[in-house]
């Protein structure tokens, strides 16, 4: 279901979603849209802003997409939607919009959310590292930064990749593990202390590029991430201070799209996507965000 006031945007969105071969209907406003618990609702950001609680209504998913003329969503709008609990906010204009929307819709339709390969063109190689000790974080970050530079990407991308990989790994190593009472008992662990990573403590880092995007994926085996809490933190784009919990917001600020996939109590996967085709000024000021729940692969 596409809910957008502009006929031209309706047509564009209908064609993008038509690639799923699922029936796509359109409506100019939420009042006339037929929505049930199995509907994926793609909503213009202006309509979403005017009905922030709409995302609480039963549907398979609510996805906010750029508004007038499908221009990039502004940061205030993205923050307001995240703060209101929207799990899918697409910020970017075409062609990213089409690529992101199709991948998002297919993940929801197929109920298959894990893996960075869903964002890569066929043929792109995926390289991975499995950390065997918490102290290997620096080496893994250094390796991925070196790999990225070696494939010809500029230092700017290498620098962003370093920050993103480091924050996602730190999150998996120290924020994800919980004890038998559900307490996050690794949060205050010294970061310079070794810890063998076996069983549920295993953390993997993978990356890939296809000339359009560079994707970084970090998995932990805890499944304790809470997308709603993350959305609230990401919504605070300008942080007054940095006493805690700045890791994911920093990774988000360095990305063009941040994707959280979670199988509760089993697996968390965070994917950060960087567009490597366009200058930052040709994209939206804020990154897109998506949260998916699903069965582990």
């Amino acid at each position: 279901m596409v809910v957008h006031p502009e006929r031209r945007a309706q047509r564009s969105l209908q064609r993008m979603l038509g690639a799923t071969l699922c029936p796509v209907t359109v409506a100019a406003d939420l009042g006339t849209a037929a929505i049930d618990g199995d509907t994926i609702v793609v909503v213009d950001t202006a309509i979403a802003l005017a009905s922030l609680d709409a995302c609480k209504r039963p549907a398979r998913a609510w996805i906010a997409v750029p508004g007038e003329g499908l221009q990039p969503a502004d940061p205030t709008t993205v923050s307001a939607l995240l703060n209101a609990g929207w799990d899918h906010v697409v910020a970017h204009p075409m062609p990213l919009l089409a690529e992101e929307l199709l991948a998002t819709a297919q993940k929801l339709i197929r109920r298959d959310c894990f893996g960075l390969d869903k964002y890569m063109a066929w043929g792109a190689e995926v390289r991975g590292y499995t950390l065997e000790d918490a102290l290997e974080r620096d080496a893994a970050v250094g390796a991925i930064a070196s790999d990225v530079t070696r494939v010809g990407l500029p230092d700017r991308i290498g620098s962003l990749v370093s920050v993103i990989a480091d924050e996602l790994l730190a999150n998996a190593l120290y924020a994800a593990p919980v004890d038998v009472h559900g307490a996050k008992h690794r949060v205050h662990d010294p970061r310079d202390r070794g810890r063998p990573l076996v069983d549920r403590d295993v953390v993997t880092l993978r990356w890939s590029t296809d000339g359009r995007y560079l994707a970084i994926e970090v998995r932990d085996r805890w499944g304790t991430i809470e997308p709603a809490a993350i959305e609230t933190r990401l919504a605070a784009t300008k942080t007054s201070t940095v006493e805690s919990g700045m890791g994911l917001p920093l990774a988000y600020a360095c990305s063009n799209q941040l994707v959280v996939n979670v199988a509760p109590q089993v697996l968390t996967e965070v994917i950060a996507l960087l567009d490597i085709r366009y200058k930052p000024t040709e994209l939206a000021r804020s990154a897109s965000f998506h949260a998916f729940w699903g069965e582990p692969p």
Partner: protein, 144 residues
């Protein structure tokens, strides 16, 4: 990756390497003599969220101990991350590195610039290079 190297020469402190959990910033403010302090973090190549927190605490400690603080030649990665933190608005920054691109040959570089973000000549073809990012990612810190 290089740990943070700190050199103190009178009131001038130079930083190079990574600002992360291993950065020894907690006691640095107390090691500096009273008077104006110039921080030169040009060689900073990486800043983690934990490192950014330590950097903010260091700046806060300098302010609280009465130092007049100026930042010169701030590395790109530190400059963009400091711009995310509203507590740092109004900090004195005289120059910083920013992401520029040449529209003619698409060469990318991080020249040293100031808050005017003026064009600079491309090192490869001589055409004017322009800022390749949103100005607010560098200039929010100048708003009071």
């Amino acid at each position: 990756m290089t740990r943070l190297q700190i050199e103190i020469a009178g009131g001038r402190v130079t930083f190079a390497g990574r600002i992360d959990e291993s950065a020894q910033l907690a006691t640095l403010a107390s090691q500096l003599l009273p008077g104006p302090v110039v921080l030169v973090p040009e060689g900073v190549t990486f800043v983690s969220s934990v490192g950014l927190r330590e950097w903010i605490r260091f700046l806060r400690a300098l302010r609280e101990s009465g130092h007049a603080v100026t930042l010169e030649r701030v590395g790109d990665v530190l400059m963009t991350q400091m711009n995310l933190i509203s507590e740092l608005r109004g900090l004195a920054v005289t120059s910083f590195h920013a992401q520029y691109e040449c529209a003619s040959c698409r060469n990318e570089a991080q020249p040293l610039v100031d808050a005017t973000l003026s064009p600079v000549p491309c090192g490869e073809c001589g055409s004017p290079m322009q800022l390749a990012d949103f100005p607010e990612r560098y200039l929010t810190i100048f708003r009071t």
